[in-house]
């Protein structure tokens, strides 16, 4: 099986995000960058699928040369090779999905597995756009029935269940009020939710090996995709701060405040 996975470069989710005073963007100084946590889960799932069924994991990222860090991270986790779409400047979800479509058409994977959203834009769109552009089956928010402390997880078994004929995949989806199971014909686009797996750490030998793994460079021009953004962020602002609260000494005081001040009970 060939699995195409993504590795978007995003701000470390633990970092404090501040808006620039003129609202033109966020303050970059002092920020650390990581692979989008949902994409890391996608890389892990790709590795598990290939460990079970054979094949290769190809990881793709879009951005300036700094995204090679995220590609190397995925390669160190065990991905076989990388595709880097070299692009600096603004890019929206339509542009990203357009580029991934061309990469998928070139690579012809059995599955594209990617994060359900990236933790910077929080748009939750690219997988669905990609599936429609490709005309492929779609399963978003892939999860599993077993918990992250289960035997299944400890054994690093893939949560996505490929059919005996390698023509379908069963996906358990996290939806409102429960879990929905779909059967997708391959090739398919799957987006990952939080509890699909616990991604592995890159081992030292993995990091060493990653250095010699190939990274192919492409550009929007080479892929013939017009990436002019159709989504324009006009201005950013900080959410209104919450007014400082108080500590109450006991339950009686709390109930009094809820009743007479907040008037919510």
């Amino acid at each position: 099986m060939k699995i195409l996975v993504t590795a978007k470069r995003v701000e470390d989710p633990e970092s404090k995000i501040k808006v620039k005073p003129d609202g033109s963007g966020i303050v970059q100084e002092g920020l650390k960058y990581k692979i989008n946590p949902f994409d890391e889960i996608a890389v892990e799932e790709g590795l598990r699928l290939v460990a079970k069924h054979g094949g290769e994991v190809v990881v793709v990222s879009i951005g300036g040369k700094e995204v090679q860090e995220q590609l190397r991270h995925a390669l160190a986790m065990g991905a076989h090779r990388a595709v880097w779409v070299n692009h600096t400047g603004p890019l929206d979800q339509l542009g990203i999905a357009g580029l991934l479509q061309k990469v998928a058409e070139k690579e012809k994977p059995d599955m594209v597995v990617l994060g359900k959203q990236s933790i910077d834009d929080d748009q939750n769109q690219v997988g669905q756009y990609l599936a429609e552009f490709l005309g492929w089956s779609q399963a978003t928010f892939a999860s599993k029935v077993e918990s992250l402390e289960s035997e299944q997880e400890k054994n690093k078994a893939p949560a996505l269940v490929v059919g005996a004929d390698n023509k379908t995949v069963r996906v358990v989806r996290e939806v409102d009020n429960g879990l929905a199971t779909l059967e997708c014909s391959l090739p398919a686009v799957v987006t990952t939710d939080l509890r699909l797996n616990l991604p592995r750490y890159a081992s030292l030998p993995g990091i060493m090996k990653a250095k010699s793994k190939p990274i192919e460079e492409l550009t929007p021009e080479k892929l013939a995709v017009d990436v002019t953004p159709k989504i324009q962020v006009l201005k950013m602002s900080s959410p209104p701060p919450r007014k400082a609260g108080i500590k109450v000494p006991d339950v009686a005081a709390l109930v009094d405040k809820l009743r007479n001040e907040a008037k919510v009970v």
Binding site: I17, D92, N124, E132, S137, L234, V251, L254
Partner: protein, 322 residues
């Protein structure tokens, strides 16, 4: 006149998802600013009583399509039907609530319509063709004002930011149409519902959430929730451990809630959890650790053992009713 098309959502039990009412009211707000009219579309297995409920919500028209293929929602089946109707109506805007279905469906519909999309819209600003969308980024740490430049514009709305549309207004015309069905490469296998008598998290007036401090024992959380008619929520750690179902997770990566009252018990308050609840009107934090970050966003903080004070709180609230 420009058209705003809102996609209605039916629950597995056949009732209207409450978030649809919020989406309709968001659609009306957008329509006022854009000088447009609101249409609603409902897809189902067979003609449904829900269309009766929709037509009284102050909209121009309700479009319904029924077919056996539409029984179980699938993005690939619903996309050509919704996009086909949008094209026929020449709709300028297509949107729905940011539910699991909305998040799954709307980007695919947008792709079919070559539309750019804004997710989790909290407000519409500007007027006419220049309407812009306010939406959260970086887990709600940034609000962005966004302009979509494609002819058709798609969006999902954060239901808690818009009041529920009220029924009983002048009845709109209900029009049934023949759905444009395409063969699907995806099959519905099953849906395992987590049954609960409590309100849905994103729709509840009160939410009681538990974290690591519960050590997986949610009895007191649930008992307090039931006293208040509240929904039960949880932190990510609790869901990851498998102590409670995943769909109870409140946070950036789970559900975003904004109830009148949010009670966090035994939750330290990681950034990603705060992102999911800090728009709540009143926040109460109960934690043994006085330094827990949750106290920084709480209106009322109580430094205490939750196993001791939750029963006390429940009894005190019960007494108020007597």
């Amino acid at each position: 006149m420009p058209i705003v098309l809102i996609v209605a959502e039916q629950q597995p039990d056949g009732n209207l998802r409450k978030a649809t009412l919020n989406a309709v009211s968001a659609g009306r707000t957008l329509a006022e600013k854009a000088g447009a009219e609101v249409h609603v579309v409902l897809l189902s297995k067979e003609p449904s009583k829900v269309s009766e409920e929709l037509k009284g919500l102050g909209v121009k028209a309700v479009h319904t399509a029924g077919a056996p293929e539409l029984e179980h929602y699938l993005a690939e089946v619903y996309t050509p039907v919704i996009a086909g109707l949008a094209q026929e109506l020449k709709a300028d805007y297509v949107g729905m609530a940011s539910t699991a279905m909305g998040k799954d469906l709307m980007p695919r519909v947008a792709a079919r319509l070559k539309a750019a999309m804004a997710t989790d819209v909290m407000a519409f600003n500007g007027s006419g063709a220049e309407v812009t969308f306010s939406r959260p980024m970086w887990a709600g740490n940034v609000f962005a004002e966004v302009k979509l430049t494609t002819p058709v514009k798609a969006f999902t709305v954060r239901a808690t930011e818009f009041p529920a549309a009220q029924g009983g207004q002048a009845a709109a015309e209900v029009k049934s149409f023949t759905p444009k069905l395409e063969p699907s490469k995806t099959k519905f296998v099953d849906f395992k519902e987590v049954k609960s008598a409590r309100p849905e998290l994103t729709e509840a007036r009160v939410v009681v959430s538990g974290g690591r401090g519960t050590k997986g024992d949610f009895k007191e959380i649930e008992a307090l929730a039931d006293e208040l008619g509240a929904a039960v929520g949880a932190s990510r750690a609790v869901c990851d451990a498998g102590w409670v179902p995943n769909d109870l997770q409140v946070g950036q990566t789970g559900k975003v809630v904004a109830p009148q009252l949010y009670i966090a018990a035994g939750i330290s308050g990681a950034i990603q959890h705060l992102a999911g609840m800090k728009s709540s009107k009143t926040i109460v934090a109960i934690n043994k650790d006085p330094e827990a970050p949750i106290f920084q966003v709480a209106d009322y903080g109580l430094v205490a053992d939750l196993f001791k004070v939750l029963p006390e709180l429940r009894q005190a609230l019960h007494k108020l009713k007597e």
